[in-house]
Amino acid sequence: MPILELKGISQEFGGLRALDSIDMAIETGEIFGIIGPNGAGKTTLFNIITGIYEPTQGEVIFNGGNINRLPAYQVARQGIARTYQNIRLFKKLSVLDNIRVGRYGVTKNGIFSGMLGLPLARREESQTMAEAMRLLELVGLYDRRWEYADSLAYGEQRRLEIARALALNPTLLLLDEPAAGMNSSEKVELVSLIRRIREEMELTILLVEHDMNLVMNICDRIAVLDYGRRIALDTPIRVKNDAAVIQSYLGVEA
């Protein structure tokens, strides 16, 4: 069974059709890439999956259940975590706290439990701390854990955002242009990080990216969007040679 299915997703903004009946199914455990020129509707699709927008038409099925109408925080609690194209960190919180907030959706202790330091809160806090330390090590930010998130370098901020998303223990991770603004050595690190994440944490990754090499390199399958329509969906090699894709997108760059 696919972990995520999109059935006939359309999205309109004031009469403008940003997405036009998109179908795709993401299989459990794969790295799935979505590419397409600017304005193709990639980020819109992410926003629909994560519950920020409700699609005008169509269904989002996650683990067999319809999540169309779930608010964003509920979607997160179902196990879908994401990063953002323009990095949305909690700037004036420490690196450590950014990750610990990421654990919010998988912990339960409430106001009074936290205020009074009840056993549930203590137990969850120590779990959260341990998990945060593990993730800090994973993304190589352990030594900087007390610094404000906005004092990190750009590439580090991207990695912190990934760590925060992973703190949610997701089964599906959405990465919105994770390599944007990175230099080539940072990109190499990113690729190995993404691979490591998939292997160690057994999750499915859906990513939007502009860097062709990176996408071709790590994705198992790729969907190509153009003007809100899905014009191809296949393995990297086949997509690379697809006539429609070459004409509408790759052709421009090649």
Binding site: I52, R88, F90, K92, D97, V101, G114, M115, G117
Partner: protein
């Protein structure tokens, strides 16, 4: 105890120390709403007046014991905090600020016309039950619980909402619910401060809880450091003492407040103590040594 203290300390200073305590409680409540959660509230005096009138009427007209009346006043304020928090479900920051001003104004106009509250004349002869010990005991409890809360899962989520609501949602934070929660907790403290104030001053009237009072409280949070407990305490202390020192130039006091806000926002938008958090300091120093 107060009698003993007043033998050693000048009553004038004792009074100031007491007011400082009350202001700390009020400012801690506002800090929770505005400093920590980032929801600009400019009507904190409204919550304060609800606590003050409710508790005063309870003790004066119904013979309710002071602690119970205090709790009653705080709960009424918290209830209104809930209703004021509700619009935040739909509103962006600046609109919310206006709603809070509007709310405080409506409350003030209500008390101006409220028969049991003595209308514009206000209430006088409120039993003086608030003692040095009550105030500072409650300050200690409020600071302790606040610090615990802010270093807990919920507290971090409050900060996350202030920093980026959308990102907070994608971490599983039900932002709407937590914003209302912050309002309820903050207004509870507002009501508590109001009740203490009423039972210290003998006398309250609607003018005590006007827009200027709300701004004064906001200034404490902003000056000390938005979201910081030590900062809020510092702000409350400074802005209680400073006006006393500036008494000779009372006319200029408000002008000074205004200029202070502008200058702070330009040069030190995070206030004097920035985002210093008790919890962070402890951990930072503790772990810093191991490095």
């Amino acid at each position: 105890m107060d009698a003993v203290l007043s033998q050693y300390i000048d009553p004038y200073f004792l009074r100031i120390i007491l007011i400082i305590g009350i202001n700390i409680i009020l400012a801690l409540g506002l800090n929770l709403i505005t400093g920590v959660t980032g929801q600009l509230s400019m009507g904190h005096a409204g919550f304060m007046s609800l606590g003050a009138y409710t508790s005063a009427i309870l003790t004066m007209n119904y013979g309710v014991a002071f602690p119970t009346a205090l709790l009653g006043g705080s709960l009424v304020a918290a209830l209104f905090g809930f209703f004021i928090g509700l619009p935040t479900l739909r509103l962006q920051g600046d609109y919310l600020a206006m709603v809070t001003i509007g709310f405080a104004e409506i409350i003030r106009v209500f008390f101006l016309n409220f028969e049991p509250g003595g209308k514009a004349v206000g209430l006088s002869g409120i039993p003086q039950e608030t003692t040095f010990l009550t105030v500072w005991g409650l300050v200690a409890v409020a600071v302790f619980l606040n610090a615990r809360l802010l270093s807990s899962r919920t507290g971090r989520a409050f900060y996350a909402i202030r920093e980026d609501e959308i990102a907070a949602e994608s971490c599983g934070v039900n932002t709407t619910r937590l914003k209302v929660t912050a309002f309820v907790l903050g207004s509870f403290l507002g009501g508590l401060g109001g009740g203490l104030y009423a039972h210290y001053m003998f006398y309250i009237d609607p003018q005590v809880f006007n827009f200027t009072k709300s701004i004064e409280l906001l200034n404490m949070v902003v000056l000390g450091g938005m979201g910081s407990i030590p900062g809020t305490i510092l702000g409350a202390v400074l802005l209680t003492i400073l006006p006393e020192l500036l008494r000779v130039v009372a006319e200029y006091r408000l002008m000074f407040y205004g200029a202070l806000l502008v200058i702070l926002m330009i040069f030190r938008p995070n206030g004097l103590l920035g985002d210093v958090r008790i919890y962070d300091l402890k951990k930072r120093w503790g772990l810093g040594k191991n490095k």
